[in-house]
């Protein structure tokens, strides 16, 4: 009855007009950006002087470089320069990675240390002025040749090359093996002072860890930790976290070990695959995986620590949608921007349209500011002011999503002011909405207005969470986990889903990404529920869109949206002695 009356109601006509307005009058449009994909150039600069025979008897230095070589995504070009008394090997950036790998394996440690010649030659290999350029230098000592004059010349050459590198925007990342000692002259250890990065290891056995630091921290390669800790058996089964494997271009499983690895084998379903193995690492490289699991088998000397990381690669082009909206009574104009990475091979395939990404936060830089965007139904959604018409260059930190999306570095978003006639229609539509809302309101009970979201926190995290997955979706038993909020975050909000992912939980718990934590007053934790999960604290239910404070030693019980999986969180103090 109500519906019939409503249709006869004139307000209905106004609503219809509004619908037309939305369809024709909105300023949304789709643009496929045509910017070029960001490229990276990396030159390995390896010291192969005689002293490396002592420092690196097992040749773990080239092994560490190989580990980086085979893990880097496809938009990285790699070259190699090896130097002793002079440059021994020089492989250009367009050389195949296998050739570089063979060259690394064949190096001989001989001669003096002519880092000047080495660096100079390395800089000549860079071609692309727009690419990010990095030299990764591995050496065990200062510059030294057979006589002081030659040594001095090489040092000057090194200094000049460092200057050139700085001018050309080439980053020098130095891995120094051994004790820097007390060398007053400029040398490779000094490279940190010149906008470079310096890693120092006392033992070559640590190089594998440094290789990973270079990959993940210096190059920002996104990875998903599959395992950390002691591996009890010789088979590793990895599940790809995405529901659709066709959105993945490449998947690499990097296995590193503190003891020698051997007998590497793998089982997988993919368009193609290969195993690239060194002394203490192995990479299973899959192109277009076609199933969600892969298995890698290996043999290792006992007593070692084996770790595995999953590096996913997606090739994408970016579609842009912009919708102008007016925010509340202030009539502030904003543009809701949606960047949609789509597959290059299939423009209809939204690469982020997967439960794995849903609700994830990702940093976006626009208008010179960093904004936190959210992934929603395959699009990266965020808002920009739309007071003036302009083009905005947007840069997305895809690595926040845990995968390497090879896409244009920046995306141009066009923000337009709405047209004049649009205002009239909007005005009429506003009236119609008001009338329709009045009619509707008279027939409905008023819904409670959800409370405003809490303002950005001004407090810092002070505690840690003990996590007990009391019921997993597959009924498996998950060992209790501990997550130190204090150590990992300062003030930023984090979702439970992201937290669980950081703990290495491979399956998703429905709704976990919509439960948020942020620091509160008096060392409490602010828990915000934006999901349909059932959250209990001391038998009090935390309903959707509400928050509560969790104090030390308090427990939260969560039943997830699948109404099956359950989890208990215990918030505990981090004692001063436990803080780093």
């Amino acid at each position: 009855m109500i519906q019939t009356n409503f249709i006869k109601n004139p307000a209905f006509l106004f609503l219809l007009l509004l619908a037309l307005l939305i369809f024709f009058g909105s300023a949304s449009h789709s643009v496929t950006a045509a910017e070029a994909v960001k490229r990276h150039e990396v030159v390995f600069l390896l010291d192969v002087s005689n002293s490396m025979n002592t420092t690196d008897a097992e040749k773990l230095a080239p092994d560490g470089l190989e580990e980086i070589l085979y893990t880097l995504p496809s938009n990285y070009s790699v070259g190699l320069v090896a130097y002793g008394s002079d440059v021994q090997v020089a492989k250009p950036l367009n050389a195949k990675r296998e050739q570089i790998g063979v060259a690394l394996r064949q190096v001989n440690y001989t001669g003096y240390t002519n880092a000047g010649a080495g660096l100079e030659r390395a800089l000549t290999l860079f071609k692309d002025s727009t690419a990010d350029k990095t030299v990764v230098l591995l050496s065990d000592g200062e510059i030294r040749l057979d006589d002081p004059v030659a040594t001095g010349a090489s040092e000057e050459q090194f200094n000049r090359a460092m200057q050139t590198a700085s001018e050309r925007g080439v980053r020098v990342c130095t891995v120094a093996i051994g004790d820097p000692g007390n060398v007053p002259q400029s040398n490779i250890y000094d490279s940190a002072n010149r906008q470079g990065l310096l890693f120092n290891v006392s033992d070559v056995a640590q190089l594998s860890g440094i290789a990973k630091k270079i990959l993940y921290e210096v190059f920002g390669i996104a990875k998903i930790a599959v395992s950390s800790g002691d591996l009890q058996s010789d088979t590793l089964r990895v599940r790809l976290p995405l529901a659709r494997s066709d959105s993945i271009n490449g998947a690499k499983i990097l296995l590193t070990s503190t003891v020698p690895l051997g007998n590497i084998g793998a089982s997988y379903t993919a368009q193609s695959g290969e195993i690239l193995a060194g002394k203490r690492f192995a990479v299973l490289n899959l192109l277009h995986p076609q199933s969600d699991t892969a298995e890698i088998r290996f043999g290792s000397a006992g007593g070692g620590n084996v770790q595995a990381d999953l590096i996913l690669e997606m090739n994408a082009s970016i579609q842009v949608e912009v919708k102008n909206t007016t925010l509340g009574q202030s009539e502030q104009k904003t543009a809701e921007v949606r960047l949609i990475p789509v597959s290059i091979a299939n423009q209809n395939l939204r690469l982020l349209n997967d439960p794995y990404f849903e609700g994830k936060s990702v940093r976006v830089t626009a208008d010179g500011q960093e904004i936190t965007a959210v992934v929603e139904k395959g699009a990266i959604r965020f808002s920009l002011p739309a007071d003036i018409t302009r083009s905005v260059a947007v840069k997305v930190r895809y690595e926040d999503l845990g995968v390497n999306i090879i896409a244009p570095d920046t995306t141009t978003v066009q923000i337009n002011q709405p047209e004049g006639y649009g205002k009239i229609i909007a005005f009429v539509a506003a009236i119609a909405i008001a009338i329709a809302a009045l009619v509707w309101w008279r027939t409905q009970k008023p819904k409670p207005v959800p409370p405003a979201p809490p303002p950005a926190s001004r407090y810092e995290y002070a505690g840690k969470l003990k996590i007990y997955v009391t019921k997993a979706p597959d009924d498996s038993d998950i060992a209790p986990m501990e997550y130190n909020l204090y150590r990992h975050f300062r003030k930023e909000e984090i979702s439970l889903g992201a937290l669980l992912e950081n703990c290495g939980l491979s399956f998703a718990l429905a709704g976990a990404y919509k439960v948020f934590f942020s620091p509160g007053a008096n060392k409490a934790l602010v828990l915000t529920n934006k999901s349909d999960c059932t959250i209990l604290k001391n038998r009090d239910l935390l309903v959707k869109d509400h928050s509560c404070l969790v104090y030390f030693h308090e427990r939260i019980h969560i039943t997830f949206e699948d109404e099956r999986s359950e989890l208990i969180l215990e918030y505990k103090n981090v004692k001063p002695s436990e803080r780093p």
């Binding site: 058996s233 007990y468 019921k471 008096n522 209990l536 030390f552 427990r555």
Partner: protein, 729 residues
């Protein structure tokens, strides 16, 4: 008045009887709950808490179930009640003081202690054969003798005589005890075996050789003085025979009636006669003729069946027996006559794999939160026992999700994984419960093994537990105690019979006809004894009894250091030494590493007397002090926990101003009171000890520096601040 009246309540993490209630079931679902109410705790105590071994047997009633499998003609034993078998086809074998196996083992422990002999010298076989049919029969003979005596008294008294009623009561109890034997065939087997032996070998010599039929005779002298054994005459005096016959006959009738009443549906005459003969032997004049060949066949079959059944029984029951013995030895460390801080054992009665499951751990947490996070300390748990840890330091829980597909390994179901221990330790540490754990029993964890291999293997096994936040609360106890060594655990039941050329029954001399079963070694986890001994030392009465002087009557023995001075010589276990001792090099190694809770079996003397008991050599947890290069003594953790709890109670939950008063120099402050008693054996602050505190107002943290003989241990507590601005919510 003492705030804390007990510091030795111990949680035993073991399953005893799956049919009884367990901690997880009683705690129940803890969704939305941080703690349990008082009624629930009371209920848990009623069902799961015991203060003595007898109470333990009564409450938990450890039992083995047996049923017969017609397919393989064997008796099957199981510790878990089979769900698909009806009750009437299931027999419960209760491991109580009536069980011959348990009785034998307890007798063995007692005898060895009183004799003070080493394992190498002790005659284990003399006691292990207590479970042989012959020895079972000896027990029965004693019962029989007593029954006959009491029955004769009963028979002589007149009807209506009040004394007859009293004797009747006594007789009823005896019949009840006897009926436990003839109530089922299995229990009758050893009796049947002995009965046949008796009847068939009556005329045989000690070697069982039987060549001539027996006819009873009388020694007499012939006409010319020659010695003759003449066939015995029939009895002439009726009176004696009548009287004797009446008593016997009356007893036989009573027993037969009793048997019949208890086995209405399935009794048989053979068994009835057997029961009668067993419990009331008939005079030889009434002995009936037997079919020798049939009886020999019966005998051999009974013996074979009994041996297999006993074998299977022992294999099944051994893990449970070891737990039962462990509990016994836990309580045995505290003298029965003392009435002080008697140790209490709270038993989870559920497997540790279940407790450590992610879905169940919150229940354990809720329970401990209730009993250990309050200012009421009556139910506070201070210690725990976690026995039978797998020797494989990488052993995982059977329920853990396989992150990496691994090889399938057949695991011993009676052994707890290191992973489950680690998970439980992680919970225990938050409630400051010290956990005594020991490794799976066997010949690789004994004194003998440690005497040859040293302590390294144990240190290595504990690496995964060291350097963790819970390491302070993990106490590895080595070595395990041997009750029956593996190489001395053979029990000769009896020999098979055969029909010889003279058509008589004879015991076989062939090796393969000796029915022998192997107990395969019986051991007790060191954790039970370590926890029992340490729990005992918490009691001021115990310390008073041991040290006589300088013991405060109120203070618990939290600061008692069993390693210090002559304490190891005075505070000893109740178990006899097992070996001559460790070599000097092994002892040096132990002293260098200062690892674990280590027992020693050494030659020592105290006060002019030789020590024949096992002593404590080291008492350390797994918290490693890299600076000093040693593991920390366990008493430090106990003291720290005690001080924290007293402090919380005494300062109204760590109110800052009260903390200041607590540690002030005022003679009535708690610190001053403790210092005043520092010369006592059970002082809290001993000679060379001190407590100081520093309050960090900005962070609201008070750090206590507790100095033990110059070494400082820190305790951080969050305080209730003085100013309301800084007051915690």
């Amino acid at each position: 008045m003492a705030i804390i009246t007990q510091t030795n309540r111990t949680l035993l993490l073991e399953e005893i009887n799956p049919e009884k209630l367990d901690l997880l079931t009683m705690v129940g679902d803890v969704k939305g709950m941080d703690s349990l109410n008082d009624e629930k705790i009371k209920e848990i105590n009623e069902h799961l808490s015991v203060k003595s071994f007898d109470e333990f047997l009564e409450k938990f009633d450890p039992v083995v179930y047996s049923f017969y499998n017609a397919n393989n003609q064997r008796v099957m034993y199981t510790l878990k009640k089979p769900e698909t078998i009806p009750d009437e086809l299931l027999t419960e074998i209760h491991l109580n003081m009536h069980n011959d196996f348990l009785k034998m083992l307890l007798t063995l422990v007692e005898t060895k202690r009183s004799q003070g002999l080493l394992n190498v010298d002790f005659k284990f076989e003399k006691l292990t054969n207590l479970i042989s049919p012959a020895k079972v029969m000896e027990d029965i003979r004693q019962i029989r003798k007593e029954m006959r005596y009491v029955y004769s008294e009963y028979a002589l008294l007149e009807e209506g005589d009040p004394k007859r009623l009293d004797v009747g009561d006594k007789l009823n109890v005896m019949f009840e005890e006897a009926s436990m034997n003839y109530n089922n065939v299995m229990a009758m087997l050893p009796l049947a075996i002995e009965d046949i032996k008796t009847r068939l070998l009556l005329g045989a010599g000690g070697d069982g050789k039987n060549n001539t039929p027996l006819t009873l005779g009388v020694l007499s002298m012939g006409e010319e003085g020659e010695l003759k054994i003449l066939e015995a005459p029939k009895p002439e005096t009726k009176a004696l025979a009548t009287l004797d016959d009446q008593i016997n006959q009356g007893l036989i009738t009573a027993i037969e009636d009793d048997y019949q009443a208890l086995n209405e549906e399935n009794h048989n005459d053979y068994v009835k006669a057997l029961v009668a003969r067993t419990f009331c032997p008939l005079p030889s004049t009434i002995v009936s003729t037997v079919d020798t060949e049939k009886e020999i066949a019966n005998y051999n079959s009974y013996l074979e069946f009994y041996k297999t059944a006993k074998d299977d029984f022992i294999k099944t029951v051994k893990p449970l027996i070891e737990k039962v013995l462990g509990v016994r030895l836990f309580f045995e460390q505290y003298p029965a006559k003392l009435k002080g801080m008697r140790p209490t054992l709270l038993i989870t009665n559920v497997s540790n794999e279940m407790v450590a499951k992610a879905s169940n751990i919150p229940r354990l947490i809720t329970f401990l939160n209730t009993v250990n996070a309050k200012n009421d300390f009556n139910n506070t748990v201070w210690y725990s026992i976690f026995p039978s840890v797998s020797l494989d330091q990488n052993s995982k829980m059977k329920l853990t999700r396989e992150r990496f597909q691994g090889n399938k390994v057949v695991e011993n179901p009676n052994v707890n994984s290191v992973e489950s221990l680690a998970r439980i330790l992680d919970v225990l540490k938050d409630y400051r419960v010290q956990c005594f754990f020991s490794y799976e029993t066997g010949d690789k964890t004994t004194f003998n093994y440690m005497a040859t291999e040293g302590i390294d293997k144990f240190v290595e096994r504990c690496t995964s537990l060291t350097g963790k936040p819970y390491s302070e609360f993990a106490i590895p106890c080595v070595p395990n105690f041997t009750i029956v060594p593996k190489d001395k655990s053979g029990v000769v039941l009896d020999k098979k019979m055969f029909l010889n050329d003279a058509n008589m029954a004879e015991l076989s001399g062939a090796k393969e006809d000796i029915m022998k079963l192997w107990i395969d070694g019986v051991y007790i986890g060191a954790a039970f004894v370590a926890a029992g001994l340490y729990a005992a030392t918490q009691c001021p009465e115990y310390l008073k009894k041991t040290f006589k002087r300088n013991v405060d009557t109120e203070l618990p023995g939290v600061r008692f250091d069993i390693e210090a001075g002559d304490h190891p010589l005075r505070v000893r276990t109740s178990l006899a030494k097992e070996i001559t001792g460790f070599t000097n090099s092994i002892k040096d190694d132990i002293n260098r590493k200062n690892f674990g809770f280590v027992f020693s079996s050494e030659n020592a003397a105290y006060d002019g007397l030789n020590i024949t008991d096992i002593m404590v050599y080291k008492a350390r947890n797994l918290l490693y002090d890299a600076e000093l290069g040693v593991y920390e003594p366990i008493y430090k953790t106990q003291v720290t926990t005690y001080i924290e709890r007293v402090l919380r109670h005494g300062t109204g939950d760590f109110k800052q101003d009260n903390i200041i008063k607590f540690f002030s120099n005022n003679p009535q402050s708690q610190k001053s009171l403790w210092i005043g008693k520092r010369d006592k054996v059970n002082s809290i602050i001993s000679e060379g000890d001190d407590i100081n505190y520093v309050i960090d107002e900005a962070n609201g943290i008070c750090t206590l520096d507790i100095t033990f003989n110059g070494n400082v241990k820190n305790l951080e507590i969050e305080i209730n601040r003085l100013t309301s601005a800084g007051r915690t919510a």
